[in-house]
Amino acid sequence: MTAQPAANSGPVNKAGLGKGDYKGLPTTLCSGCGHNSIANQIIAACYELDIVPERIMKFSGIGCSSKSPTYFLSRSFGFNSLHGRMASIATGAMFGDRTLRAIGVSGDGDTASIGMGGFKHMVRRNVPMTYIVENNGVYGLTKGQFSATAEVGLKLKHQGTNSYMPVDICMEALASKATFVARSFAGDPKQVKELLKAALSHRGIAVLDIISPCVTFNNQENAIHSYTWGKDHEAPLHEISFVPALEEIELPGEFEAGEVREVTMHDGSTVVLKKLEKDYDPTDRSKAFQMLEEAERENLLVTGLIYIDTGKPTLIDTFNLVETALNRLGEKDLRPKQETLEKINAQMF
């Protein structure tokens, strides 16, 4: 199906759409909020991937972060659901028309506090969706309480000092066998966009933990989730440059250090990983654990594609559904014939 472009002049993409066709309503978030720049990168990524907005569904929970789906892709269906409950509503919605892609935007409170259970189970079901956590270590919308990703020892007004171990969202995703785990930093729009494009091209759950500073409530020098902290402590894992391709590219077999590695996505496009000296292989789950565990001990913020597995069937695959979108099936597909009921009645005794 081809898209209906807006009556806008200016450059268009392969879908025949201009950037404007991907815009959302004006943001109502604080100026300088990390969430805004992420919204902009979502717009850019979808434009560059030639995605038709009507073929995307947007989801979120409740929070400043969860408001952002209103700020991109106005032409896409969306649902701003309940606090911590994005996972379940998105999971159910995926069955309506399985050809649609989904982008979910959640917050660290929304995902790691109240939404932990739903998040973990969504991941283990490999629901095909790009799951973004706009991670600022605080509750923005409720004005600055600790979230579960706040680091130990962080002090906040009226809240005292946080004494609990922070939740590492990438670690949690990995433990639940996510098939795509990445982390980035809102202050690094280029990497955010590239990872978004990789995620959107992945078939399966793609968890993107994006450190997204809250300028209003969590920008102490000492806070992991503040701009300042992020800038100093970032250690980009590897550069990524994304090359949309028209035909499938196979994953090269054995691969040595220094070499350039390509991971083939299900839509045929690929992520090119320039491998760094520390020789990181995003398909090695065991290494991924080690790396995260280490980074955490060294209090480092590792960004990049941490883990990817392109082989697992998605939740939807496992249901072996008919070709037609379920939500376009009619009475004749859905209501069994009268005879069948007579048989059933005959059995009922």
């Binding site: 199906m1 659901s81 309940l82 919605a93 995926m94 859905l334 009645n345 005794f349």
Partner: protein
């Protein structure tokens, strides 16, 4: 020996949970049904998997009464743990059958006592030793059949149905039954009056449980998505979907037109259901009390964002975890006022197994027509017990998918529409669903304040208007939900209102009150909330109304008083809840006590 009491008594069989007595019990039930004798069977089981006492009661009633009775004329026990209690429970003049390996005092002169050589006879049967405990059940089945006169052919039919036709198990079980019957013929002299005789009163009826019926009804209603989380007594509803959907709803190419998903909990189960409903699917979930309560937040979202979903609540007795294997009608007021803020929920109240089927498909039509959650309140008694009921009726009306706009519809409207606009004055707006490719099709769902275009707004007027429209929609629902069933006795001034599985007790009580006390009554069986017109009329037409329900607080009575204040004074509550189905005996007394007050 006293003269025969035919086709009017109750049999209770006491065994140990997990010993596999269900086959024998259901076989007896089916055999009686096959003989054309009205029966009802109720399983009283513990919330445990193995080892605790469990009872199965079969009521035989030539007059067709199916309510629970307190008296037990015939009692069979294989369980030492409940032996004393079982013996005591036999009605004077009744019969007591027991496994003779149980050595316990038998001090009762007023009943007929029959020992059964269960061990011996099961050892005699040629089955693997591991199956002996199981086969023991066939022994009492055979002896009982012989002693009360159940037709052996009917038993064979019942068995072959149970093992759907498989030769081997049918014969091996049947052989034991026959041997046991033979033994009884030789060794037991009938000293009690209770027996059965073939009738023609089950003609055209079926035997089924409400959960299976609900699943089948949903399937014929075109269910496309079901998310659930296991909980007694609702699990067998979703499991019936797992059993029947593959048989009934695969496309030619063997691919599925549905998805059933076991969620991680009820918060997720209803969340997924709401997601599926929003995406245009006929979506449902099924649960019971504790799970239902966890669904409150999403129920509020579905109400306010107007997402069609169907929620089956197979009620068990609460509050809290309560008694997972006991029945009640205790969730009505919670659901009617479900979730915080002002909500009015649409509720269906099936009163029979066949109605579970009917409401199974109807619930989807109502949910999609009204764009709101529809709650169907069944209960353990209705859902898990075998009932004699009318055959399932194929839906007489085509599916009503409600006001959904697709690409074409939007073209016609030049893309001009408003998700929450009351175009038709019935309070029901139009909707589109994901996948619609028209560039004006998308809208953004939310549980926050929104205007007719589904845009976020904090404007007070808009909020108020949106809520008033929802109230109008509820008025529309009043005209769409199934009307009550009314049964009139000429000259009655007193009325009875009941719902759900309480009907059998009412039917029986009314008959007795009229016959024995000359107290006539009209009967309205409520089938849904909001109340349709007929309910108000019925109330106004009577001097006094007794509202019958299986809960402590008279929940429906409270709701009716609230919605018809000018009639409230004449609404009397006849409520009772101890985990067991209501009996006609209790109801008669309750009504008589109340009537005496006047």
């Amino acid at each position: 020996m006293p003269e025969n009491v035919c086709n009017d008594f109750s049999i209770t069989i006491a065994t140990v949970n997990g010993s596999g007595s269900q086959t024998a019990n259901v076989t007896l039930l089916r055999a009686l049904f096959k003989m054309g004798i009205p029966v009802s069977g109720k399983n009283l089981f513990p919330s445990n998997i193995q080892g605790l006492p469990t009872w199965y009661t079969i009521r035989v009633s030539g007059e067709g009464y199916t309510a629970r009775r307190e008296e037990q004329e015939v009692v069979v026990t294989l369980n030492p743990a409940s032996f004393a209690r079982d013996l005591a429970s036999v009605k004077p003049g009744g019969a007591f059958y027991y496994a003779d390996d149980i050595k316990m005092p038998l001090e009762r002169e007023d009943i007929a006592i029959y020992p059964m050589p269960v061990k011996a006879l099961s050892r005699a049967a040629d089955v693997s030793p591991s199956l002996r405990d199981y086969i023991a059940n066939m022994v009492y089945a055979g002896i009982l059949a012989e002693m009360i006169g159940i037709d052996m052919q009917a038993i064979q039919q019942a068995l072959s149905f149970h093992f759907n036709g498989k030769e081997a198990p049918v014969t091996s079980n049947f052989n034991v039954i026959q041997a046991a019957a033979e033994w009884a013929r030789q060794n037991l002299k009938k000293r009690d009056p209770f027996c059965v005789e073939a009738l023609d009163k089950t003609e055209g009826m079926i035997l089924a449980d409400g959960n299976t019926a609900a699943a089948l009804g949903s399937i014929y209603g075109g269910v496309q998505f079901a998310a659930w989380y296991p909980i007694t007594p609702a699990s067998s509803l979703a499991e019936a979907l797992n059993i029947y959907l593959p048989q009934l709803r695969k496309a030619e190419d063997g691919k599925a037109t549905y998805a059933v998903l076991q969620a991680e909990d009820e918060l997720a189960a209803i969340g997924m259901t709401v997601g599926a409903g929003w995406s245009g699917l006929r979506a449902m979930t099924s649960t019971s009390g504790p799970g239902l309560t966890l669904m409150g937040e999403y129920a509020g979202l579905a109400y306010y964002s107007e997402v069609p979903v169907v929620v089956w609540d197979v009620q068990r007795i609460g509050p809290s975890t309560g008694l997972p294997t006991r029945t009640a009608q205790g969730d009505l007021s919670e659901v009617y006022f479900f979730s915080h803020g002002d909500t009015q929920q649409v509720i269906l109240l099936p009163g029979s197994v066949t109605e579970c089927f009917e409401f199974g498909w109807m619930a989807f039509d109502l949910a999609e027509r009204l764009q709101t959650p529809v709650f169907v309140l069944s209960d353990l008694d209705l859902g898990m017990n075998q009932w004699m009921t009318q055959p399932f009726q194929y839906p007489e009306t085509p599916m009503d998918r409600g006001k959904v706009l697709w690409e074409g519809d939007l073209e016609e409207r030049n893309g001009v529409w408003g998700r929450y606009k009351d175009v038709d004055g019935d309070g029901i707006p139009y909707r589109t669903v994901p996948g619609n490719q028209h560039r004006a099709s998308a809208w953004f769902g939310r549980g926050t304040g929104h205007d007719e275009q589904a845009r976020y707004t904090e404007d007070s007027k808009t909020w108020e208007e949106m809520m008033k429209r929802l109230k109008r929609k509820f008025e529309t629902a009043r005209g769409l939900v199934p009307a009550p069933m009314v049964d009139i006795m000429k000259g009655a001034t007193m009325g009875i209102i009941a719902y759900g599985s309480s009907e059998p007790a009412v039917v029986e009580a009314r008959a007795h009150l009229a016959k024995e006390r000359g107290l006539k009554s009209d009967f309205l069986r409520l089938r849904a909330l909001p109340c349709s017109e007929e309910v108000g009329e019925f109330v106004r037409q009577h001097e006094r109304i007794h509202i019958v329900e299986a809960n402590r607080d008279g929940q429906l009575c409270q709701i009716l008083r609230a919605v018809m204040p000018d009639q409230a004074a004449k609404l009397h509550s006849a409520a009772h809840s101890d985990g067991l189905p209501l009996t006609a005996k209790w109801l008669q007394e309750a009504i008589l006590n109340e009537e005496e007050k006047k």
